[in-house]
Amino acid sequence: MALLTALLIGLVFGAGIAVSGMANPAKVVNFFDIAGSWDPSLALVMGGALAVAYPGYRLVLRRPAPVLDPRFHLPERRRIDAALVWGSALFGIGWGLSGFCPGGAIPAIGLLRPEPLIFTATMGAGILAAKAQQRWAAERRSDRARRQGACRGCG
């Protein structure tokens, strides 16, 4: 049941991306090209999405739990740190170079052109490399914490 609903919701998402123009990199780049061939369409994509998602979330999150899961899985991080800013900035450089973002590229695969596949492949490699580095950094942190804890125990 959960697989079927996720598939159907994915269809709605992909249809929205395709109809809105977000799957078209030329349209995305033109949205940011205010000094040149500006196409303001994407402001309406975000506006339309928020006009539905904001009241929709307010209604849904008032309930004790979602229909198919025991609880809501909401992001717990609150801190605004450097990684949030520079990671997003790095994403912006990539997005500006090609006009592909993750949510635009996956539905664009269904248009059967090579570019979305190439983008998705290197994006996947980037996500895997970042996850490996983050795991390594977390292990180093916990190792150091353990060593410090042991020293305090000795002293």
Binding site: A2, T5, A6, L7, I9, G10, L11, V12, G14, A15, G16, I17, A18, S20, M22, N24, P25, A26, V29, N30, F32, D33, I34, S41, V45, M46, A49, L50, A53, G56, Y57, V60, L61, P66, D69, H73, P75, R77, L84, G87, S88, A89, F91, G92, I93, G94, G96, L97, S98, C101, P102, A105, P107, G110, I118, A121, T122, G126, I127, A130
Partner: protein, 139 residues
Amino acid sequence: MTEFTPVQSLLGGGLIGLAAVLLMALHGRIAGMTGILAGAFAPGGGWRLAFLLGAALAPLLLVRAGGVEIGFDSPAPLGWTALSGLLVGIGVSYGGGCTSGHGVCGLARLSARSLVATLSFMLVTGATVYVTRHLMGGL
């Protein structure tokens, strides 16, 4: 040039918002493409693969079965597109989300983190387009 498409863009945006609300109402999950991709092969990630399959199938169905015209033009040379994918993959991993996760779901939850992230990537994307198109004269 691409044409201003207010009706399609507003309608499409509404569908993206609807998908976000449905995913929260049924699965209790954020409809952020970064998180969905990153966890696609994790244990219990079957729903993510199903979502990705649906997202990729939708345009195919619209074009083939629905006869809908979906514009597509990728202005960057393939090498730049490949490099851009790598930067996006690394960036969204450290930034904790992308346009769908921070820009739609996060802003809809009035998350301060998502507002900062969205401002950061929107400004830098605009600057990147300005540099490549107007200072470098195109890629």
